[in-house]
């Protein structure tokens, strides 16, 4: 499974990187962590003419925690999120979701930006982006633009990124202390892609759920925001009746694919089960 031939460039600036991408009219690809791209090359599922390595670009691997939210540079690696002492308190949902990504060796190389740009429907980072209503900063020949996560993921392994654009940063909205949240996924083995997963958070106003956000991974061609389920829960006390109503709403609102791993009805039921368990988990408050 030797890789197909390609040219390689390691530009020193973002502008140079963008120009290189533009110069090949769609047959150039970015390589950063390489943990998703290189296997695709090994299977010859992709045959780009040029790989543009972001290795020398500075400033894209910062983790910034500020009043207006949490910013992760596209080159931030999973292991750096693990090691950031402040992030656990600043955005516990992000940290918990990232704990589930892949394996030790992959976590030392794989990047936030790579995962978002690759857009696997079962990946955790895209799920967090959707659930939290993240904003993604993108650089291209026309300059900089910002995409909402809900506009960014357009299909299975597909995003709004043009072939000459580079994702540089993801910004998550500020996370108030004491917020209720949960992240739960079910994978066949530790580190495998999730068969289904759910991320959620909400406020409690007069003991009732308010402004709940629920995201699901592994049950569609992209990470999904379960707004119909949110509507069922908002304004409710979190009790058995509400949880059952939410689980039923989940079953109505997703249409997962059937594949060799699981039939659609399994994924549907699994997501409902995970949501119910996640809601119960969120009750304990962390």
């Amino acid at each position: 499974m030797k890789l197909p031939a390609f040219d390689y460039a390691s530009p020193a600036s973002l502008e140079e990187a963008v120009a290189l991408l533009a110069s090949r009219s769609g047959s150039a690809k970015i390589i950063s962590g390489g943990q998703s791209l290189v296997p695709m090359l090994a299977f010859r599922l992709a045959a780009p003419e040029l790989l543009v390595d972001l290795k020398r670009l500075q400033g894209l691997n910062r983790i910034v925690i500020a009043d207006d939210g949490v910013r992760l540079g596209a080159k931030v690696r999973w292991c750096e999120i693990d090691r950031d002492a402040m992030l656990q308190g600043a955005h516990p949902l992000l940290v918990e979701a990232v704990r589930h990504v892949a394996h030790y060796q992959i976590r030392n190389r794989g990047t936030v930006g790579g995962s978002l740009a690759h857009a696997d429907p079962a990946a955790e980072m895209p799920g967090i982006a959707i659930t939290c209503e993240a904003e993604l900063t993108i650089i291209g020949p026309q300059g900089q633009r910002v995409d909402k996560a809900s506009d960014f993921f357009t299909g299975s392994l597909t995003t709004s990124l043009a072939s000459d654009e580079i994702l540089t940063e993801i910004k998550l909205p500020p996370w108030p202390a004491g917020r209720r949240w949960a992240f739960l996924e079910f994978a066949r083995r530790r580190g495998d892609f999730a068969m289904a997963g759910v991320a959620l958070f909400y406020e409690l106003v007069d003991d009732k759920i308010a402004d709940i956000h629920i995201g699901a991974i592994g049950v569609g061609d992209r990470p999904l925001r379960l707004r119909a389920v949110e509507a069922v829960l908002n304004g409710q006390t979190l009790d058995d009746r509400a949880i059952e109503a939410a689980a039923a709403a989940v079953r109505e609102s997703v249409d997962p694919p059937s594949d060799i791993y699981a039939p659609a009805e399994y994924r549907r039921a699994l997501l409902a089960t995970l949501l119910a368990r996640a809601l119960r988990q969120s009750e304990t408050g962390r």
Partner: protein
């Protein structure tokens, strides 16, 4: 024959480890020859079709591509892979040609060999080769009723039907108070050893040397020499370090011919390294079985008979040992239980999929799943405790030797040799602490339903006619042991040195073991069916005895006494009142050969017990505790045997829960990488315990040993399915198929709930 036990039975640390731990092993991918080229194989991407032509002209223009060989470059009549085991002429039509010849019959069948400067260039060339295949309808499942014939001449896709017979099944079923019939399925999966296959072949005009041999080098050499029309002496197969085999590596595959043949045609060394994607469609698959079986018993649970039909999906060709699994499913379904009336047919179904062969405990894993599930169903129906039911049916020591079913054609009969099955059964329950754990059966704790199961099994070993050993004692007291047995990672060098040390009384540190290569002994047979310790070890014992006699005779002459008076003591021989050092006595190395011939299989046996917890919401099954007890007659190295047991059990758990080679209706393999074919990892099955005992030695070889190393895997499917049934007994969930993947367990729960509601 006296064997001074100072090394046998000791958990001696392995000599192999010293190089493996340092990354200094030499596996075939590490071998390079001067001027070598690299081969990559073009394989059919279509499951069934007529091969009308291959146009490699564009590919040949790529810089670095040297030759692209197709059928016509190898021979006017393409040789075929002959069966090594049970070579019936009936099966000859289904032998695989070394390269696709007129037809392709499975995705992955070799179509051409690209030879280039590097593997990368050769892989690039694949895209430029145009293969003209006229597609034919694809046959991938019994339900399709011969939609397309793989071998038109044969008229059906059933290659052969074996029959296992004992007693009078019809009579037994007629008079039985209880009969139950069920259907079962086991999924296609495979050995999936970690080191992909490979060869380096070098032809110097007169001698062909091939690195990368394993398992059955002598048979392979004969077949290769004949296929290349060379005398046997002109071919040498060299075994280097081997990264696992499990019954699959080392059998003769098309590549075993294609790579050496390419080297001979081109006149330069050729190297081939299989990659994982290729391995998944090229190396033997295994275990795909379905059956319809009935069991007859008295109302007290005494099993009277087994009757039924079994179908094995053997893929597109019958390869060297493709019959073993299908025969074993039928012949060994009774296992360690005294079942006197058996009539089972076992059909081999040819399909447009990768051909199958043996994988650890071939046919036995499948048949034990069937039988142990049946026993628990019987226990439930007759309201008998499942433990008691087994006790009532296990073969007793006084019944040994106990004949099993005979199988026909290519008839073979066998009998259980020795064993106290009841004692080992009870020992397992005690070690597992069944008494305490019993209370968990069917209980819901923290969202998980708990279940228990126990099962017993037999493990056949040491088959195959004979094995050779050659001992060479140097004047400096170093002993070289050359062995026909081959190493696939089981610690052969260490175990054989232990046996040799005790048998020859040469110090362990002065012994080196060389194995598996055809230059080592005249006629070896290799390692398969857990035979190495018994066959190789026994051959060493015989050679050692001859060697000692030879030394004593020489010493007697020099010391002026009778040979019987001579005592060998470390590095000298003593007799009368005098002694002489080996260094003085042995002027030239003493070389002794011996052969051990064995016509009786050995039968190791054991019992396993398991405690699981099932999450009905996800279908996930946690294995909370697994206890295995096996009697192997005589343990040579408890550490390596224990290692084999644990490894074997985890493989079995992979087969029970995770591993599945899935095909679509076009004969395309959908699970073609390690992302889709799920192997157990370190976090999946943490609690595995294993104990080996030397309770009843084997009466049929001088070591008293029984082949062990496959046993751990054999009962796992049945035990896991029974444990899941036990956990979900409130719903009457009855698994009849493997694997017990989460979606399948969930579906069983949902179906059972719907059934109860209606």
């Amino acid at each position: 024959m006296r064997i001074a036990n100072s090394y046998i039975g000791q958990p001696i640390e392995r000599t192999e480890d010293l190089r493996f731990l340092r990354g200094r092993g030499t596996y075939v991918a590490d071998i390079n020859r001067p001027r070598q080229l690299t081969a990559v194989i073009l394989r059919s991407s279509i499951a069934h079709g007529r091969l009308n032509g291959i146009d490699a002209s564009r590919a040949l223009q790529l810089p670095g591509v040297h030759r692209i060989l197709t059928a016509k470059d190898f021979d006017t009549e393409i040789p075929r892979i002959a069966l090594r085991l049970q070579p019936l002429s009936d099966l000859e039509p289904f032998h695989q040609p070394m390269i696709a010849d007129q037809k392709v019959r499975y995705v992955g069948e070799p179509v051409a060999v690209v030879v280039a400067e590097t593997a990368a260039i050769a892989e690039d060339a694949l895209d430029y080769i145009a293969v003209d295949i006229e597609p034919l309808p694809v046959f991938v499942s019994r339900e399709q009723a011969d939609a397309a014939l793989l071998f038109e001449q044969h008229g059906t896709n059933c290659a052969i039907t074996w029959k296992a017979l004992r007693g009078d099944a019809d009579a037994a079923f007629k008079m039985a108070e209880y009969v139950r019939r069920e259907r079962f399925k086991v999924q296609r999966h495979a050995a999936m050893f970690m080191e992909p296959r490979g060869f380096v072949a070098d032809w110097d005009g007169q001698k062909l040397t091939v690195w990368g041999a394993a398992k059955t080098a002598w048979y392979n050499r004969r077949l290769l020499a004949a296929s290349l029309r060379l005398p046997i002496e002109a071919v040498d197969l060299v075994e280097v370090d081997v990264g696992g085999g499990f019954g699959s590596r080392g059998e003769f595959y098309p590549e075993d011919y294609l790579i050496p043949a390419a080297a001979k045609v081109i006149g330069r060394p050729v190297k081939w390294n299989e990659d994982r994607r290729e391995h998944m469609i090229a190396a033997n698959h295994a275990r795909e079985v379905e059956c319809e079986v009935e069991i007859a018993a008295t109302r007290h649970g005494r099993v009277l008979g087994l009757r039924g039909q079994i179908w094995s999906d053997v893929g597109a060709y019958v390869r060297t040992n493709g019959s073993v699994g299908p025969r074993n499913v039928a012949q060994y379904m009774s296992g360690p239980y005294a079942i006197e009336n058996i009539e089972l047919t076992s059909s081999m179904l040819l399909t447009n999929k990768t051909p199958t062969g043996t994988y650890r405990g071939p046919g036995r894993f499948e048949t034990d799943f069937i039988r142990e599930r049946m026993l628990d169903l019987v226990a439930k129906d007759l309201n008998i405790d499942p433990l008691e039911l087994r006790r009532r049916n296990l073969v007793a020591d006084r019944q040994m030797p106990y004949p099993l079913a005979s199988i026909t054609p290519y008839d073979s009969s066998t009998e259980l040799d020795s064993g106290d099955y009841h004692a080992v059964f009870d020992r397992c329950l005690a070690e597992f602490d069944w008494k305490t754990k019993e209370q968990f059966s069917g209980r819901l704790i923290d969202g998980y339903y708990h279940g228990l199961a126990v099962g017993s099994f037999i493990e056949g070993g040491a088959a195959g006619p004979k094995e050779q050993a050659r001992l060479v004692l140097e004047p400096d007291g170093t002993l070289s042991v050359y062995l026909g047995s081959s190493s696939v990672g089981q610690g052969l060098e260490t175990i054989m040195a232990q046996i040799a040390a005790d048998a020859t009384e040469v110090p362990y540190e002065k012994i080196r073991v060389l194995h598996g290569s055809t230059s080592h002994v005249k006629e070896g047979y290799g390692s398969y069916h857990s035979r190495a310790t018994v066959m190789g070890g026994s051959a060493i014992l015989l050679a050692a005895e001859k060697l000692k006699q030879s030394i004593k005779a020489s010493a007697a002459k020099r010391l002026g006494c009778a040979a019987e008076e001579v005592v060998l003591d470390g590095e000298q021989a003593r007799g009368g009142n005098r002694s002489i050092a080996f260094a003085e006595l042995i002027e030239v190395p003493i070389e002794i050969e011996a052969e051990f011939f064995n016509n009786k299989q050995t039968w190791a046996y054991g019992t396993h017990a398991a405690h699981v917890a099932v999450d009905p919401g996800t279908g996930h099954v946690k294995v909370l505790d697994y206890m295995a007890v096996e009697d192997v007659g005589r343990t040579i190295n408890p550490a390596t045997l224990h290692g084999q047991a644990i490894g074997s059990i985890v493989q079995g758990l992979g087969g029970a829960f995770l591993e599945h080679l899935v095909y679509d209706e076009n004969g395309q393999l959908l699970t073609g990488s390690f992302a889709d074919y799920l192997l157990p990892t370190a976090s999946d099955f943490p609690k595995i315990r294993s104990l080996t005992v030397d309770l009843k030695p084997c009466p049929n070889n001088p070591l008293g040993a029984k082949g062990g190393g496959e046993g751990g895997i054999i009962p796992i499917g049945g035990i896991m399915a029974n444990a899941v049934a036990d956990a979900l007994k409130h719903l009457n969930v009855q698994p009849m198929e493997l694997p017990l993947s989460p979606p399948r367990v969930w579906a069983l729960v949902e179906a059972a709930k719907a059934q109860l509601a209606s």
